[in-house]
């Protein structure tokens, strides 16, 4: 049975159902138990499953991830939470040097199948240290899968896929999606596979590639441009690593023009890699430059409302880029 759920309710339901289904699963992190999480993604789970399955941890991201690595090596399926991606840095050694490389450096004799939920994204007056995205850091690390859903349906289905995956998965949740985006979510168990992108809107004039909250911004801009006679195809990557080249290239070969939209900083971001893939593999299909709408290259999202607004990608910025690209 399908109901309309918010994005965050879809996350909570996935955790709840997986805790019930698989006794190897446990969740851990700062403030996830008694308080139910800063955003209430883990609300009521402590009462339902007890401290053995829902563990409030010391305020120390490194050991949160290490506890997940080690216990997953023992066959458990931990789902740690990093409260804000801005605070993932103390766990970088564990994520990048341990989790990403454990399977490789042991020639496949060890693995650490855990899923770390990471809350990210700006636009909620979070300031420099409660607004970052930083997913690109991890896309650069083979061995880590990186997932960022944009809809409640995908949030539940991809989270269940991630927890059941045999690799470490970084599951990014854009905080602005939590309560602004609602959608149909089946109550029953289902999965959305890690890897495949989704075509959210079909069009023949150009391709917009995006992910996370920016998919909704891209779709709004695409509707505006449709009224002006330009039909954009909108691709929601859903998984950032490994990237679904097939869906991207198929669309590029149809539209011949590419606009990449992401909220994170520009230089060496996900967009840079997408542009490289497309020029390497579909150069002859391009009728214009691959363009990007991204945040500017400044250290993080500044707090003051006009500064934050300047940093963020919005539908107007995307519309302007579409007009520029469509002119080629």
């Amino acid at each position: 049975m399908s109901r309309t759920l918010t994005f965050i309710d879809a996350i909570t339901e996935a955790l709840d159902q997986e805790l019930a289904r698989d006794e190897r699963v446990f969740i851990l992190g700062e403030d996830i138990g008694l308080s139910g999480g800063v955003f209430k993604a883990t609300a009521n789970l402590l009462d339902k499953y007890g401290e053995d399955r829902v563990l409030d941890t010391p305020l120390a991201e490194g050991i949160i991830i290490a506890a997940a690595i080690g216990s997953s090596m023992m066959g458990l399926r931990p789902v740690p939470e990093i409260q804000f991606t801005d605070f993932v840095t103390p766990a970088m050694d564990q994520l990048v040097q341990q989790a990403a490389k454990l399977h490789y450096r042991s020639a496949g004799t060890y693995s650490c199948p855990f899923t770390v939920r990471i809350c990210c994204g700006g636009g909620v007056s979070g300031g420099l240290y409660h607004s970052q995205e930083n997913a690109a850091w991890f896309v650069h690390e083979p061995g880590l899968k990186v997932v960022m859903p944009s809809t409640p349906y995908d949030a539940k289905g991809l989270l269940l896929s991630s927890i059941r995956d045999s690799s470490p998965v970084l599951f990014f949740e854009h905080k602005k999606l939590y309560r602004t985006i609602k959608g149909e979510v089946p109550e029953e168990d289902y999965t959305v596979p890690i890897g495949p992108a989704a075509v959210r809107r079909e069009g023949n004039d150009l391709t917009i590639i995006s992910y996370g909250f920016m998919v909704h911004v891209a779709l709004e801009a695409a509707e505006t441009m449709a009224q002006r006679g330009i039909e954009a195809e909108v691709i929601d990557l859903r998984t950032l690593s490994p990237i679904d080249k097939e869906t991207i290239l198929k669309s590029v070969r149809k539209t011949n023009k590419v606009l990449i939209v992401h909220e994170d900083k520009r230089t060496m971001g996900v967009g840079a890699e997408l542009a490289a893939i497309i020029t390497e593999e579909a150069f002859d299909d391009l009728d214009g430059p691959i363009m990007r709408v991204t945040a500017p290259d400044i250290p993080a999202i500044p707090f003051s409302p006009p500064l934050e607004k300047y940093f963020l990608v919005n539908p107007d910025k995307v519309v302007a880029a579409i007009e520029q690209l469509a002119a080629y």
Binding site: T57, S106, T109, S166
Partner: protein, 335 residues
Amino acid sequence: MATKTTPAEAQASPARPAYSRELLTGLYKMLVKCRMCDEKARILFRQSKFAGNFYSNVGQEAGEVGAAYSLRDDDWVAPSHRDWTANIIKGVPLKYCFAQLYAKATSPDGGRSSPAHMGYAPLHIITPASSIAGQLNVGTGVALGIKKLGHDSVVVCFFGDGATSIGGFHEALNFAAVHRLPVVYLCHNNLWAESVPLRLQTALTNLSDRAKAYGFPGVSVDGNDVLAVYEAASAAIVRARSGEGPTLIESKTYRWYGHSEIDPAKYRKKEEVEAWKKQDPVARFEKYLTEKKILSEEMKKQVAAEITAEIDEAVQFAEESPYPTPEDALKFVWS
């Protein structure tokens, strides 16, 4: 509990419980085996038989053997770069230990990790990264898994004095304390973190004092006395196995050679090195066993001959093993 830091003070052997002849000779053979394998590895490196580097454990064998000797197959070890011999003690076939140095296809990691960064999954030895103290955190996570699954195995994490300065050390020990995890933290305090002396590493005299801050026992022992380490480790392992939680053991010792084989260690005074060499853990245990009439000259020769033959066979295996095929670099990225 010994708290001495100088070799002269550490010399007197305390009274011992009655250990079986089998245990004493077993410890002795393992000490000699670690020494001989390590010295052989150094020679092979100098002969350019393998590339990269090697981090010798010579001088610290009592800490390694004392802590790992009595572990069961299902107990875990989280080693650092200087604990290649932990694999030998835990029972990894010697041929794989030397294949690891040679980075051959037959090594447990198929030639991926650098020499001495060795693990072995069948015996639960975690292939180490080079990040100092990272293994403490992963090992602590394994201990959480053991506790959650209700197993009675334990984890021994090896590290040096330098590792106690990194934040990860604090995170690991604090977490283990909160959850009373079955883990033993064994610090080889060899007085030097690469070229940085202990006085610039910590203001403490006894690194085991750090345990007080976490609320579990810490002991400092003469790390060149294999029985002292064995006693402390055995008590800690029993404690961990019975659900009473972690222990921090400081094994006060000294590495005879540089941080690695490319480090001439000129930052140390010759007199300091010589004084510690007089506290050779192998020679001390030989003396003890000889006085106890457990060890004879003939036995010593026999032990050495047996180990030499085993090493020769292992080196031959390593040398004759194929290198990985280049494309193997692409394997095992995703699990």
